[in-house]
């Protein structure tokens, strides 16, 4: 068989410029039939731009795109869908006002006529059952009412539903960023089955282990170019990180023993549904992890602590000012119309005030301090927040919390979809700030991040089911407690 025919999609010398920025600089890329290609690189390396081209949402400024060996001149989303190429985008793209079934309808022009609602509901329900057996999502649920993890499950399942259009290649851009380890495992197992049955897949993930274990071939991008491409077996974690560049290579998160000294009590909280006497206790200088499957009450407890700081609440004691780093960055974190500096300053308005008005000078000083301290990559802090890449937007939200007077920082899985270089920088900063006496409560869906914590509380069904010290912390233990009937 000819190589050109076995390819689902092939790009030759693809180029894309956004103003002066070269997002893609002559990229050759191809995906074969029955192949899972892993795509890795830092934020801003050009992965998303490349995928937008394959999906037809962006036109290349130069180069050629061919599908199944035929050059495509007027390539578009509609053409990509006709050819069986679909994409699950990184930013969630469900309509929050529509039900799960109605969101499925949007992707299928064939779902129409009498009884379309039943057909759409059956279609998405069957696919959800197939990928995530215990998903707990109803086809009538309104998408906006679902947790971010469940929205991502719906979106992934929707991409694999079949009606009149064929399905050959699915692009998954950070598909597990909001999923816990259990559901992420279910998804990746499904991807393997899909590929084994002859489908093709492009997997983009910042969790390198996922890519190493599930991809057949790995393509590494840096600065708008492909810098390495080889069979997955030829790579290991260190090689990948080295190829991606930056981040000073592999560094196991702070194993240097931090002295566990009992600081002043900062937070004492019992989840609303807790029946036994277990409660969360956080002292000055501690980093406390909140683990367990996604959506089992971790976020609720963080929000309860946040509101208890301003209004007394039974069962929760908070003794210092609180700041929250939101996980759903677009919905809960960013003021879209504002500059980076304004987004950072909003938590510290009382300190930035000069008389009755906000002093632009103090706001700029605060922003500049954190620009250098946390390394926000921008020529001007007065630019709109959306001029930043996703990882840098998240840094700005960290700067908002750390730049404030808050002694307690709540983190609601803030690292989803952030590249490893940015993550390591933020981990260092968190440990540094904790050493100065700040308290961190950190909910995360990535087990690796828990290595940074002094204590980890595991949640199940809105309750704390285990309290693990750093030295007894292992992935098995967490999974065991999240599924076990310890409660």
């Amino acid at each position: 068989m000819l190589q050109a025919v076995a390819d689902i999609v092939r790009l030759d010398g693809a180029e894309k410029h956004f103003g002066a920025v070269r997002a893609l600089n002559g990229v050759d890329f191809h995906v074969g039939a029955g192949e899972c290609v892993g795509l890795v690189g830092h934020n801003g390396a050009g992965k998303s731009t490349l995928m937008h081209m394959v999906a037809g949402t962006l036109r290349p400024d130069g180069g050629q795109i061919a599908v199944r060996g035929n050059a495509e001149a007027g390539y578009s989303v509609a053409r990509a869908l006709q050819l069986g190429i679909r994409c699950v985008f990184q930013e969630l793209s469900l309509c929050p006002n529509l039900s799960v079934a109605e969101n499925t309808r949007i992707n299928h022009s064939a779902l129409t006529g009498f009884g379309w609602q039943r057909k759409a509901a059956n279609l998405i329900r069957a696919k959800l059952d197939e990928i995530f057996p215990d998903h707990g999502i109803s086809a009538d649920d309104i998408a906006g009412d679902l947790s971010i993890g469940r929205r991502q499950m719906v979106e992934v399942a929707r991409a694999f539903t079949l009606t009149s259009e064929p399905l050959h290649l699915v692009i998954l851009d950070e598909p597990t960023s909001s999923l816990d380890a259990h559901t992420a495992g279910q998804l990746l197992a499904f991807v393997r089955r899909f590929v084994a049955a002859g489908g093709s897949c492009i997997l983009i993930s910042h969790v390198l282990g996922e890519v190493l274990q599930n991809a057949d071939r790995i393509v590494v991008m840096r600065d708008g170019k492909v810098v390495a491409a080889d069979a997955a077996s030829a790579f290991d974690r260190d090689k990948l990180v080295a190829a991606m560049g930056g981040a000073e290579g592999h560094r196991k998160a702070a194993t240097e023993a931090r002295r566990a000294e009992a600081g002043a009590l900062r937070v004492k909280a019992r989840p609303a549904r807790q029946q036994d006497g277990k409660e969360l206790v956080a002292r000055a200088g501690e980093i406390i992890g909140l683990a367990g499957l996604a959506g089992h009450g971790q976020t609720d407890l963080l929000l309860a602590i946040f509101s208890a700081a301003s209004r007394a609440k039974t069962g929760i004691e908070v003794t210092a000012p609180v700041a929250l780093v939101a996980g759903d960055r677009q919905a809960d974190g960013i003021f879209a119309q504002w500059s980076i500096a304004q987004n950072i300053g909003i938590r510290s308005l009382s300190r930035l005030r000069n008389g009755l008005l906000i002093s632009p000078q103090r706001e700029a000083e605060l922003a500049e301090t954190w620009k250098t301290k946390i390394g926000i990559r921008t020529p001007d802090m007065n630019n709109n927040i959306y001029s930043l890449s996703g990882g840098n937007q998240q840094k700005a939200l960290f700067a908002r919390a750390l730049g404030s007077d808050a002694e307690i920082v709540l983190m609601d899985d803030p690292m989803r979809g952030v590249d490893i270089g940015t993550k390591l920088e933020v981990y260092d900063l968190v440990r540094e700030e904790a050493a100065k006496g700040r308290t961190f409560l950190w909910y995360t869906t990535e087990t690796e991040e828990l290595d940074n914590c002094d204590h980890v509380y595991v949640f199940k069904n809105g309750r704390i089911v285990a309290n693990l010290r750093r030295d007894e912390l292992t992935e098995e233990k967490i999974i065991q407690s999240s599924f076990g009937d310890a409660a």
């Binding site: 989303v77 793209s93 109605e102 969101n103 949007i106 906006g144």
Partner: protein
């Protein structure tokens, strides 16, 4: 759950207040009288709901209803063909406005505010002095007296059912609402946002025309200013009915209930409460604020 019942709840509350103040009003004849103007208000509210479903706002619906009224009371009676062409043409103008707003990325508030003066001016050109007469067939329809159920209630049921089916149950209705929920997602799925916007604005024009005709069928003659109050009434009706200004969250049934509530609270309730006409507009506003505040409180608690 409580939140979706709120439109029905507020209507029931207003009805109970009326029944308590004046039990005789709750009768076939009483409803015919009290809900006299509810049909055109409900139609105008539905018109407004379509643009709100696409995250836009129509500030010209009131003067548009007035313009349609003037055309109905003159040309539609004297030269039916011309009247029909003008009314269909005005729906076409609405469709073009939708295209303009989408293609040039203009704020709909600005465009429709400008258009409100255009419609007002045209209405005065058509009918410089109050007068004219509704076509006889229209008068006949609007004075129809079905057995048992008062006509305004029957009409409200039909309007709510038809629009609910069209917008909430058909497969293209999903696309129309989705364009207000997440436009980028629709574009990525290969749908034309231009078409969706044109469809929403044309539907607004269509229901604006129906509202103006129904109004003239009741009042029998027209005046260029007859519909001016409908702009804010229609917006209030949509919001009262559980709709939201952004995000494509609207409810046709709720919008009709909201319109009925407003129509009842507007004058019958206040008259029964012996509030002098001078204060009725302010009292109406107070009722609106109370209901909307209740809605915010309930949705906050449900979260």
């Amino acid at each position: 759950m409580l939140r979706s019942l709120l439109p029905a709840l507020s209507l029931a509350l207003v009805l109970m207040a009326i029944a308590w103040l004046n039990p005789r009003a709750i009768s076939y004849f009483g409803f015919n009288l009290m809900l006299n103007l509810a049909i055109p208000i409900a139609l105008a509210t539905i018109a407004q709901m379509f643009v709100i479903a696409g995250n836009e706002l129509d500030l010209s619906i009131g003067t548009f209803v007035g313009f349609v009224g003037c055309v109905t009371a003159t040309w539609l009676r004297d030269a039916p063909l011309l009247g029909i062409v003008v009314l269909l043409g005005s729906i076409g103008v609405y469709a073009l406005l939708g295209a303009l707003i989408h293609l040039r990325n203009l704020p709909s508030i600005v465009v429709t505010l400008g258009m409100s003066f255009v419609w007002q001016g045209l209405a005065i050109l058509v009918l410089p002095k109050p007068g004219g007469k509704a076509p006889d067939w229209l008068l006949a329809i609007m004075s129809f007296k079905p057995p048992y159920i008062p006509f305004p209630i029957l009409a409200a049921l039909i309007i709510a059912a038809v629009v609910h089916f069209g917008l909430m149950r058909t497969s293209y209705g999903v696309i129309l609402r989705g364009s207000g929920g997440n436009a980028a997602a629709l574009r990525r799925a290969g749908w034309s946002l231009l078409r969706a916007k044109i469809a929403l604005f044309a539907l607004t024009g269509l229901f604006g025309v129906l509202s103006g005709m129904a109004l003239i069928g009741i009042t029998t003659s027209a005046d260029a200013n007859i519909g001016n109050g409908y702009t804010l009434l229609s917006i209030a009706g949509v919001i009262l009915g559980g709709g939201e200004f952004v995000g494509g969250r609207v409810s046709p049934i709720g919008a009709v209930l909201g319109a009925l509530t407003l129509a009842l609270a507007a004058s019958p309730l206040l008259t029964f409460m012996h509030i002098p006409p001078d204060w009725q507009v302010a009292a109406n506003g107070a009722i609106l604020i109370i209901v909307l505040a209740a809605r915010v409180l309930i949705s906050r608690r449900e979260r």
